[in-house]
Amino acid sequence: MTVLNELSNAMAAAVENVGASLVRVEGRKRMSATGVVWNSDGVIVTASHVVTRDEELHIGLPNGETVPATLVGRDPTTDVAVLRTAAKNLSVPHWTGGDGLKVGHLVLALGRPGQNVLATLGVVSSIAEEWHTPAGGKIDYYLQTDVTMYPGFSGGPLVGVGGEIYGINSSTLLRGVSVTIPTTTIAPIVDTLLKHGKLRRGYLGVGSQPVRLPAALEQQLGQETGLLLVAVEPNSPAEKGGLMLGDVIVALDGHPVRVPDELLAGLTGDKVGKDAKIKLVRGGQIHEVNITVGERQ
């Protein structure tokens, strides 16, 4: 057998194997999308943006059956949704972290928008550090590929040539590029959603907008902008902690806050009920206050 034939057969086999764990997700008006079996209890992982309604959800199984599904919960900030179906004997695929994955490796994107499994091929374009989505979701590591996101591929897996799944692909997290939400990011989200049905998010109760810092402070703090408070909700954690209109927040727990997204991203669920250290500029002076973070409802 030629090496080319070997590669071709291996890719087709990977598609076939992983395909047994792919379902069609019927959760929006336009084209159906793709979900991946997470465990043998009928838990399915997909992209949040392809499940536009919370009820009347259906799953198309590899054997052609269509069965009802319920929404366990979703995290729009990372574009992850978790569904549950009563179907048994679903094939659980090999989910894996990104260890060993390198720029240039061949990868497949798979989908089941209709009855059959479809596949596209690409290479890993970029692997980089932790990042935050525009909606403030924390993603363990940046994973960009040049796979073609065929219609209905969102929620489908990024698959290595050995059939291992590195995460699920989203065509909307970043416009114009195919990024993958890694397995290591999905796992704790699934655990939390299965336990609580939602993700906890921290809450301060402020409205803000970025402002340019005075030159001296800019140099001292090493950042150009901070967040000017334009609203402080009554009885909010921010008010109780002594934040005032006109304060300029510049850091949260030691991490610089330059734009609203950075404040949102910093208010993770694990901070709820705990003290957060807020560095701010008030009357030209740098202050630090502790605020007990609330929970966003």
Binding site: V3, E16, M31, L108, G114, T148
Partner: protein, 212 residues
């Protein structure tokens, strides 16, 4: 992902180290292309390139898409440079297939492959003349096959949908498998990196029905 405009001439032996298997992979790819590309022809109207064609029979039967020769007076340029005027033998706009004949014999043909058992993920290559660039090759994989492919026009018909760069000028050229066998006729694009081909078993039926 694509192998754009591969040249068919060798460029000499260059030792750059690396993996023997990867080099073997490259050799396998060019071997498959070598087996197929003699059957690739260029279709012109006057001096203007209007598409590609695939030699089906050594006695001068050439396949292309109906849309390539629509209202044109086609000539065929073989890969050895010879040029022939062509007669339109069979034409089916609905299937988008046409068969041409030229006054030639002993032409190099291509071995038909199996388009009924293609698998998503398997390696394929499209040969043609994208934007008039002669004898270019694109590589990729099968996305899916059959009718009812999402987002494909005329979705009630059978297609092979492939993940590779297909462009105007690929139309009528061969889509080949890893052994250089003909599995489809390149027909249209559905997005920048999605090509659509007519499977060779549909082509066979077209010829059989036309000759009956």
């Amino acid at each position: 992902m694509g192998i754009a405009a591969a040249e068919f001439e060798a460029v000499g032996e260059i030792e750059i180290g690396g993996s023997d298997r990867l080099r073997q992979l490259n050799d396998d790819i060019s071997d498959a292309i070598d087996r197929a590309y003699h059957a690739l022809v260029q279709i012109t109207n006057g001096e203007r390139s209007i598409g590609a064609g695939t030699i089906w029979h050594s006695e001068g039967l050439i396949l292309t898409n109906a849309h390539v020769i629509h209202d044109e007076t086609p000539s065929i340029t073989l890969n050895d440079g010879r040029k022939f005027p062509a007669q339109v033998l069979y034409y089916n706009a609905e299937l988008d297939l046409a068969a041409l004949s030229i006054e030639a014999s002993g032409l190099p043909t291509i071995e038909p492959g199996d388009s009924k058992h293609l698998k998503p993920g398997q390696w394929v290559m499209a040969l043609g003349h994208p934007w008039g660039v002669r004898n270019a090759v694109s590589g990729g994989i099968v996305i899916g096959m059959g009718a009812e492919m999402p987002d494909i026009p005329f979705s009630s018909r059978e297609w092979v949908v492939v993940s590779l760069h297909m462009r105007p000028g690929h139309s009528g050229g061969p889509l080949i498998d890893t052994a250089g066998r003909l599995i489809g006729i390149n027909t249209m694009i559905s997005g920048p990196d999605v090509g659509v081909a007519i499977p060779v078993h549909v082509v066979k039926k077209f010829l059989k029905d036309s000759m009956a």
